[in-house]
Amino acid sequence: MLPYTAEVLFASIAQYNRALWPLPPVALILCLVAILLTLRPVRGGNRAIGALLAAAWLWTGIGWHLLYFAHLNFAAPLYGAFFVLQGLLLAWTMARGKRRFRFDGGRFAWVGLLLAITAVAWPLIDRAFGMSWLSERVVGLEPVPTTILTFGLLLLMRGRTPLHLAIVPLLWTLVAGVTAWILWIPQDLVLPVIGLGGFGLLAWKNQRRAHRAARQDDMSKDRRAHRESC
């Protein structure tokens, strides 16, 4: 039960991008810098990435859903509220603990890097599916690429990734997948796969880390016991 068509959605995105100009290229560059920071860490880089991600969710929730899309879609205020909640959760989690975003060459990091690059390249994907350049969705300003970037960066996070940070993105990929199916936006049909797959990988990554930590703990206990017996 969607009160708009794909044509209207992309016409609105075009107007939104035009109204925000030159913010779309700036957002693209900032998100690209965030990805580079995971490859070449610098001092303060982790905080900058976390702040950028939180700002992207807050902006998308307030700027797109609440202030812009709510005129066309009665459900947009609800979506906006969830996006703001996600932005606040990211900000709170980043402020509380030391989180590091770093590409370590592991399989999860590779998937994360691929997703993050896909998010930044989303305008090209939209273009490949026939959208005009003004209707292309830009990471940090629109929900779909922002969600993909989030899964990418969460997979690039070193150590345990707080799974509560992936709940709203997962829900959004499901909503966006249904929307894509109803309005027939073929490039968005991959979103539930990204959401469910990304969430599953994060859970797996956390589990592996827990196992590794437990194994190291056992090994150190064994070493200590061996030393004591000697």
Partner: protein, 308 residues
């Protein structure tokens, strides 16, 4: 004393016979399509064209000037072919704003303006109606309906008060997709309404059992929403050729076939198909002219679509 069912059946057959007799003449030349099919609103006797226009999705186009310009053309085609009843709702995004934009561009056309009140809070109802009036640019609404029975007790109080003050002309309630039908029926039977709106089309005919007979008995105008089942009827049947005998009721395409089925029910006042295309609007409005199916033809239409 005859039962409600007996009265309804007699009224139904009698009305069908009258309609068939009055409409059994060949469709005239293109320039003069003949008399427009109109129905009376039972409570007042006012005539309205039997085909109106819905605006769900189709007029929710925001500020985009290109999309708005197309809707101006769609609405112009609607008026040029004899339409007047336009239905909308605050739930439909920018539809009301866009309708107002189109009405202002077209000028000199007085629609039969029907919209809805859609808020869970009674206190916000009057403000919402004021906003709707401002969007449409009309002095007052002809029909104000309570959308999907949302807080209907509170809003009905507001609407009846507005009607007594002459701020609206008719009061109604709506539902769609066959939701909350038992409650809907109870309100129809007990409350002082002028009009009701619910789903009725050649596939979804549950309304024939209770709602349509009750509307006839209570003297309520009936607006049929989703006459194309949200466009599904075309994907279900459009690949099949229109049967040759559809020419007997002057149908020139599936849209007219579906619409003539809906408006040939004697309890229906108006059907409100929605479209964003001028050619589809022209097709839809063609159902406003020519012969209508009688009871036998209606049964044949049902049998035909069920056989496809």
């Amino acid at each position: 004393m005859p039962s409600r069912k007996e009265v309804s059946r007699r009224a139904f057959l009698g009305s069908l016979a009258m309609l068939a007799a009055s409409r059994c003449r060949p469709l005239r030349a293109q320039g003069d399509p003949g008399p427009r099919l109109a129905r009376r609103i039972p409570v007042s006797g006012e005539e309205v064209p039997a085909i109106g226009m819905g605006s769900w999705i189709t007029f929710n186009v925001g500020d985009d000037p290109t999309l708005r310009a197309v809707r101006v053309q769609v609405l112009r085609a609607f008026f040029e072919r004899g339409g007047t009843v336009i239905d909308s709702s605050p739930m439909y995004g920018t539809s009301e704003e866009v309708i107002g934009h189109c009405l202002a561009r077209i000028g000199n056309r007085r629609p039969f303006a029907a919209t809805k009140i859609w808020t869970p809070f009674q206190m916000f109802g009057p403000r919402q109606m004021e906003d709707s009036r401002a969007y449409w640019g009309v002095e007052r609404f002809d029909l104000m309906q309570i959308h999907n029975l949302l807080n209907w007790q509170g809003h009905l109080e507001t609407l009846l008060e507005n009607k007594s003050q002459g701020r609206i002309r008719y009061v109604g309630i709506t539902t769609s997709h066959g939701r909350r039908l038992a409650e809907f029926e109870r309100i129809m039977a007990e409350q002082p309404l002028d009009a009701v709106q619910f789903t009725y089309n050649i596939v979804d005919r549950e309304a024939e059992q209770r709602l349509l007979p009750l509307a006839a008995e209570r003297g309520l105008a009936v607006i049929a929403n989703r006459p194309f089942r949200g466009g599904q009827l075309f994907s279900m049947y459009q690949q099949h050729p229109l049967p040759g005998w559809a020419a007997e009721i002057d149908c020139d395409g599936w849209a007219q076939f579906f619409l003539k089925f809906v408006v040939s029910h004697p309890a229906i006042t108006c059907a409100i198909p929605a479209t964003s295309r001028v050619d589809h609007m022209q097709q839809n409005m063609g159902a406003l002219y020519g012969r209508l199916p009688d009871a036998g033809m209606r049964a044949r239409m049902i049998r035909h679509v069920e056989s496809l």
